[in-house]
Amino acid sequence: MDHPLYNTHVKLLASDLLSLTPVPSSNPNPVSFSRNGTLLSRAETVGTVISRDLRPEKYLKFVVDDGTACVGCILWLNHLSSPYFSRRCAPDVRIIAQAANRFASEVKLGAVARVRGRITMYRSEVQITVSDVVVDRDPNAEILHWLDCMRLARRCYDVVAPRK
């Protein structure tokens, strides 16, 4: 419980997300980010897909605009070829790869996407390395996400005591 939010998919507005500061870490976790002293590693955002760059069997880069800022997202599609996944259980990797392809097909320009993943840094910009994407058809999804973000910030993120 040293870092209660470290393994949580925190719901942050994009402007908040982009203002996270990377924390050099010596622990096994590659990168972590700090928000008011709280360490974070995973995030969730909801917004409109405003750009899309697909490299088949490599990655899909897309940008999500949630009304406060734009967050870059990268969805890897190289599960079957990357050595990173080769050490994992092959059936699992295949299922994940299939799911990733499905996500890639659903992420279209103008769609409202709910993106979960790890917070990473690319060229000094905070981005999300996508774990899964759900295209939301609820027209209130964005607003509800805003309310969630504000509620969580007020009742959870801002009250978590900063850890040393």
Partner: protein, 1322 residues
């Protein structure tokens, strides 16, 4: 340079036939006497616009002429004609009281602003005008501005004023002739309409008789004027009126208080339009006669009558006289004046809407509204009655016109709207007989009835029937027809309309009513929403099977809140089989607990006291503005149907027999004793309705059911027959009772019924106890005879026709009218021992099925399960003539239209029913009808009692008053019967015992347990409080449709519904597929209901609705969240396993920090799976696959998920149902899954049918008892899970099956949000 004006002729305008306005001259600086402020308003509104008259066939604004257009002609008074030969009026207008305008080419009616009587008869030049074409009459001219032609200009006028002869031959020189010597100086108060009265010339004493039928020698046309005169010396002097006029300058010195009546008759009657415009002004009338006028043979009035020598003197400059006694108008019928703009004219001019919230009601046909009363006109209504009805739903002022009322136009309308010309014959016939205070009822009633209902009753006129039946005779102006307005105006100072504004009720079409109530409901919901928005969500969520449901909201409004009266027929809906109140515009479901058996669909009911129930899911801010307008004049009279929310359930609850309520059937009027005559001197079968079967569904293409399906009820014909005596106390001799009057009934020959009841023979209690066990046993009949009725001759043979030994004398209170009942002697005959040799009566009780064809659905509607009924016994009736054998089961009896069933209740004789129910205080029974609306302040709820057995007993047609001991006998007999023929209902204690082992009512699967594939159990009755209702889809997964009772659940097709019913503080589920017709109106959360014949699945603690199940509602309560909150408290001990209730929403982190908190609701997603154990729960059952497929065979005894709501990832344990929900087992396998090679679906059907994940999982589980999936990887990252799948069986799990299981897990983690209720578990 000014354009040269064009002179129009009247004939030219009439020929053109187009509405025109020639108001261009208003822009120019032409001479005119004066332009009133109203005229300048008119000036603005009639400003010339570019002419497009030829291209616009239906202009809204009068087509303006863009050049000066003038009309030269003479303004004259209407031609005088007597009532008998009004030939001239046919070419003018109906009323013949309009100014006439003639230019030589034609003559038309006209009206003029700011009349100066000086111009009458003179040639004028009309500078600004409107012309409205009228068929048959030609047209109507509205004179806005005028001047004298040059030739007429400069004519000298008297400064004091002008005098006008009221008759063409008047000459001032004859002013002081002996008879025409009276002069009046005063303020014109009111003017009556013109009427024609038969008149008999008096004798030598100048006696005139008006309205006498003796010698109607001629008709007099005229009108009455009430003038307030001054009684000062100067006014009473006989000085010439020139002197008087000088004193007029000092009008303040006069006190116009004394009312006198002047009859303007014969030629003076043509001055009516002038006098109307002079109301409120001080005038002098000279040359009057003073006459004693006899009205009929009863009344005589001294009044002034105009003569040939009469003059009207109008001062040129004067202020209007304002009566000193004018007071604040409270709206209780006081007389006053109102000036407003006409916004609408409805019902052929009977209703005029002024300024959007003032309704001017023009009741009398004698009163003729001016032609200029058009939409957009500014009118001034004088001597009109102000009524503030204080309707709860709107602010409204009603102006009731009477015969004193006058309307003058202050400003003409610039719009092209119709001209009031003719009054309808309907109005002429009837409207004038009603005073305006009743008129609100009447006119709206007229509106809806005139559309459809009245078609059936045109002969008499339904509105008239209604008015006659509902309104006191004082409200009718019958004297108007008899004596004209003479009597009313002369005899009474006021018209009698004041102070009668109390209790105005509005009758509106049902569609308008529903719209209004919808708006009211929405407003209330909105209000509550606004109040609670800051605290929490308004709408509580129900959780069942792990899925959330919104709960509908029910509100109950009383008629006092609504202030509207409903009128319509009570009919059975052919589609739903429900009882509905129907009018021409729509229909609304109704619940009538005490529907009289005399009810038929032709009866028209007035429903004053009722409760309205609205239920549904509110859609806030849904057309609220639009709904607000549903009671505007326009929407009511022009019938503008508003969009209605189909998801709303709206129904009305009222009583018809309750003595306190004012609901009546006013047509046809049921004569007193009609029922009684039918009931008397007859023998009746007694039967008890044991069940009502729900309506059969007609399936498409079902040729076997071409006709509308019948409805069925199950009844038991009891072994007792009932004979009713005549009023003299003798029981009518029947075959059953023998030819001789019974000795036991001798006491019934008393002087009155009450007496002989009190004298009735007492039967020894001890002996009756002895009897009780013998009653239904034939071989003991003799003992019964000798003990119970010792003075009756013993027959010695129990099986013969002599039934005297099996009779119970009793008295019956028979309800013959709403508040009337009579007492008759009756005899209960025991027929259990084959009472007659003709086989007409059954030897013992028999169960029959009553079949009701659609035309007899109303009889079906009347029946209540568990109630007793009697029906006439006659030769070859259906209840006697089926095959005579014991214990015949399932005999079908077709209920013909001749069948009449009277409800019967049994009461002990120590509680004698009152003969006059009106005098009886409300009963204290828990189910008395009068006090059925129970208010509970704690929950702000209303409780409506529904028709049921208990209620019916207190309002039954026949109340059988039995000696207490005899009643015991009967009851013993009945109870034996119930045990034998009627399935017992579950007793409360049985319920308690049954549910003593209930721990988790929610977690049990929907369908029977593993040992029984098909549901088995007893059919029982279950009574409880319905907590909630929701639909369940065919896969056993809940549908979150948001509206439990609205659209989908009761959409006509049978859907599986799940009812959570609280029985003995336990919540149980009743599940089953029923069509919407099975559900009684009002069924839903908050009702207390009995589910008859539901299948008791004892081992599952479940109850299943079957096709024969029937639901009876006992009471309805309002539902808002308080209901579910209460339930939450009752199930709080169930903690996690509770299936329903509302929980506060929160964050997982808060739950972790506050472990003492109970259940909380989270908005979270599945991140990972910790462990899953699947088991096959049907492994032991060896049945064909087809049977197994109907039930789920997956059990998930252990399921651990990692849920994340953004505040904290948390491991949660779920039961099988929730686990299957989180795993999305109900979803269909995506098509892409087939194409991939991730796993091979060996043995799976690969056709185009898409199966659920559950389906495939079940197939895998058929090979393996238990499958375990564990995650050894990350619990916080969905894509980093490391899953290991293992099985317990010896069979190894195939790769494809294993891959499928992995897919199931990953599919669950890549999913949407769930709302989950959790509690902390250490």
């Amino acid at each position: 340079m000014a354009k040269k004006p064009r002179i129009f002729s009247i004939a030219e305008l009439i020929h053109g036939g187009r509405p025109l306005t020639g108001a261009d001259s208003l822009d120019s600086d032409l001479r005119r006497p004066s332009i009133s402020p109203q005229s300048s308003l008119s000036n603005q509104s009639t400003r010339p616009i570019p002419s497009n008259s030829t291209s616009n066939p239906n202009p809204r604004i009068l087509t303006p002429l863009n050049y000066p257009a003038i009309i030269d002609g003479n303004l004259t008074l209407p031609a005088v004609s007597d009532g008998a030969s009004s030939s001239n009026s046919s070419i003018r207008c109906f009323c013949n009281s309009c100014f006439q305008f003639s230019d030589g080419s034609a003559t038309i009616c006209c009206d003029i602003l700011d009349l100066d009587p000086f111009i009458i008869g003179k040639k004028i030049r009309v500078l600004a005008w409107n012309f409205i074409p009228i068929k048959r009459v030609g047209g109507f001219l509205e004179i806005i501005r005028w001047s004298f032609p040059d030739s007429e200009n400069g004519r000298p006028r008297c400064l004091d004023g002008d005098s006008f002869p009221l008759a063409p031959s008047s000459s001032r020189g004859c002013e002081n002739s002996s008879k025409s010597r009276y002069r009046l100086h005063g303020s014109l108060e009111s003017v009556s309409p013109i009427s024609v009265n038969p008149c008999t010339s008096g004798d030598s004493n100048s006696r005139s008789t008006t309205g006498s039928n003796l010698k109607p020698s001629f008709n007099i046309r005229g009108f009455l004027v009430r003038i307030l005169v001054c009684e000062c010396r100067l006014c009473n002097s006989k000085e010439s009126f020139t002197i008087l006029n000088c004193s007029v300058q000092e009008q303040n010195a006069h006190n116009f208080t004394k009312p006198v009546i002047v009859y303007f008759c014969v030629s003076a009657s043509s001055w009516h339009p002038v006098i109307v415009k002079l109301i409120g002004k001080v005038v002098t009338i000279s040359g009057l006669k003073k006459k004693l006028v006899y009205i009929g043979n009863e009344e005589s009035i001294l009044m002034y009558v105009t003569s040939e020598k009469s003059y009207l003197h109008v001062p040129r400059f004067q202020e209007k006289f304002v009566p000193g006694n004018q007071t604040y108008v409270e709206g209780k019928g006081e007389c006053g004046s109102y000036t407003g703009i006409v916004k609408g004219v409805y019902m052929q001019g009977m209703v005029v809407e002024l300024d959007h919230e003032v309704w001017l009601l023009l009741t009398s046909h004698l009163f003729t509204a001016p032609h200029s009363l058009r939409i957009g006109a500014l009118i001034s209504v004088k001597n009109v009655h102000f009524v503030n009805p204080k309707f709860s739903w709107t602010k409204m002022l009603i102006l009731g016109a009477c015969y004193k009322t006058s309307i003058t136009i202050e400003c003409f309308s610039p719009f092209v709207t119709g001209v009031l010309l003719l009054v309808s014959c309907f109005r002429k016939k009837f409207a004038d007989t009603l005073r305006f205070l009743s008129y609100t009822q009447y006119l709206l009633c007229y509106y809806l009835m005139s559309m459809t209902i009245a078609r059936c009753y045109q002969r008499e006129g339904l509105v008239q029937i209604y008015a006659n039946s509902q309104l006191p005779s004082s409200m009718f102006l019958s004297s108007v027809n008899k004596h004209g307005i003479f009597m009313l105006l002369c005899k009474h100072d006021s018209c009698g309309c004041e102070g009668r504004s109390g209790n105005l009720m509005l009758i509106v079409p049902i569609v308008t009513f529903i719209n209004h109530c919808h708006a009211k409901w929405m407003r209330m919901i909105q209000l509550e929403h606004d109040k609670t928005l800051q605290k929490e969500n308004l709408y509580s969520l129900l959780l069942c099977e792990g899925r959330p449901y919104d709960q509908s909201i029910r509100k109950i409004f009383s008629s006092e809140d609504i202030g509207i009266v409903l009128i319509g027929n009570l009919k059975i809906s052919p589609t739903s089989g429900r009882l509905q109140l129907v009018d021409a515009t729509g229909r609304i479901d109704v619940i009538v607990p005490d529907l009289p058996s005399t009810w038929n669909s032709n009866s028209i009911f007035e429903v004053v006291d009722y409760n309205l129930i609205i239920e549904g899911m509110p859609r806030l801010a849904d057309n609220l503005e639009l709904l607000d307008k549903c009671f505007s004049c326009r929407s009511i009279f022009n019938f503008i149907p508003l969009a209605r929310d189909e998801n709303l359930t709206v129904y009305v609850y009222f009583h018809l027999r309750n003595t306190a309520c004012r609901n009546v059937s006013f047509y046809p009027r049921i004569e007193f004793g009609e029922d009684l005559e039918r009931l008397e001197s007859q023998t009746y079968h007694m039967l008890q309705v044991t069940h009502k079967f729900p309506a059969l569904e007609k399936f498409q293409g079902d040729t076997a059911m071409s006709d509308p399906p019948s409805m069925f009820a199950e009844a038991v014909i009891l072994s007792w027959n009932l004979s009713v005596a005549r009023k003299d106390g003798f029981v009518h001799a029947t075959k059953n009772s023998g030819d001789q009057p019974k000795k036991c009934m001798e006491h019934c020959n008393g002087k009155n019924d009450q007496e002989h009841i009190s004298k009735r023979r007492k039967v020894d209690h001890a002996s009756s106890r002895e009897l009780s066990g013998l009653v239904d046993i034939p071989h003991n009949a003799e003992r019964l005879r000798t003990c119970s009725n010792s003075d009756v001759e013993p027959s010695g043979k129990h099986s013969c026709c002599n039934c005297t030994s099996h009779e119970i004398p009793a008295s019956a209170t028979i309800k013959v009218a709403k508040n009337q009942s009579v007492v008759r002697s009756v005899i209960l005959n025991y027929s259990g021992s084959n009472l007659n040799g003709h086989g007409l009566c059954r030897r013992s009780s028999h169960k029959v099925f009553l079949e009701f064809k659609p035309e007899n659905f109303h009889i079906y509607q009347l029946l209540q399960i568990g109630c007793y009924y009697i029906t006439e016994h006659y030769k070859e009736d259906s209840f006697c003539n089926f095959k005579d054998s014991d214990y015949v089961s399932g005999v079908k009896v077709l209920a013909s239209s001749k069948l009449h069933l009277w409800s019967l209740s049994l009461t002990p004789d120590d509680v004698l029913p009152p003969t006059n129910l009106a005098n009886c205080p409300p009963s204290d029974n828990s189910c008395h009808i009068g006090g059925d609306v129970v208010s509970s302040e704690a929950y702000n709820e209303l409780c409506l009692q529904m028709p049921n057995r208990d209620c019916l007993e207190s309002c039954s047609d026949v109340s059988l008053c039995l000696p207490a001991n005899m009643r015991d006998i009967l009851e013993v007999n009945m109870s034996e019967l119930e045990e034998r023929l009627i399935k017992p209902a579950v007793r409360p204690e049985g319920i308690a015992e049954l549910f003593s082992c209930i721990g988790d009512v929610a977690s049990a699967p929907l369908l029977p347990n593993i040992n029984f594939l098909l549901p088995e159990g007893n059919l029982v009755s279950l009574r409880g409080h319905v907590v909630t209702v929701h639909g369940v889809d065919m896969h056993g997964n809940s549908q979150n449709h948001g509206d439990p009772l609205g659209s989908r659940l009761f959409s006509g097709v049978a859907t599986t519904s799940c009812f959570h019913v609280m029985v003995e503080h336990q919540i149980v589920k009743v599940v089953g597929s029923l069509s919407k017709h099975v559900f009684p109106p009002g069924f839903g959360p908050g009702v207390d209901a009995t589910f008859h014949r539901v299948l008791e699945l004892r081992s599952q603690n479940k109850w299943m609705l079957t096709p024969v199940s029937f639901i009876v509602i006992h009471s309805i309560k309002t539902v808002n969240k308080s209901c579910s909150e209460k339930c939450t408290s009752l199930v709080s001990d169930m903690k996690l396993v509770a299936s329903l209730g509302t929980f506060s929403s929160g964050l997982i982190s808060e739950l972790v920090q506050h472990p003492d908190r109970e259940l909380m609701r989270f908005h979270c997603r599945v991140v990972a799976v910790n462990i899953l154990v699947f088991t096959n729960c049907k492994k032991d059952v060896h049945l064909p696959l087809e049977f197994r497929s109907r039930q789920h065979q997956i059990d998930i005894p252990i399921a651990g998920f990692v849920l994340d709501d953004g505040s904290f990832p948390c491991c949660c344990w779920a039961n099988a149902e929730r686990a299957s929900t989180l795993l999305k087992l109900h979803e269909e396998l995506p098509k892409g899954a087939y194409k991939s090679n991730v796993w091979t679906l060996k043995g799976f059907k690969m056709d185009n049918t898409r199966y659920t994940i559950r389906y495939h999982l079940e197939r895998i589980l058929e090979k393996h008892d238990t499958i375990t999936v564990k995650n050894f990887g990350s619990l916080f990252d969905s894509s980093c899970q490391d899953l290991v799948v293992s099985v317990s069986s010896d069979n190894t799990l195939s790769g494809s099956d294993e891959n499928f299981l992995r897919y199931v897990v990953f599919n669950a983690c890549f999913g949407p949000f769930w709302v989950s209720s959790c509690a902390l578990w250490n």
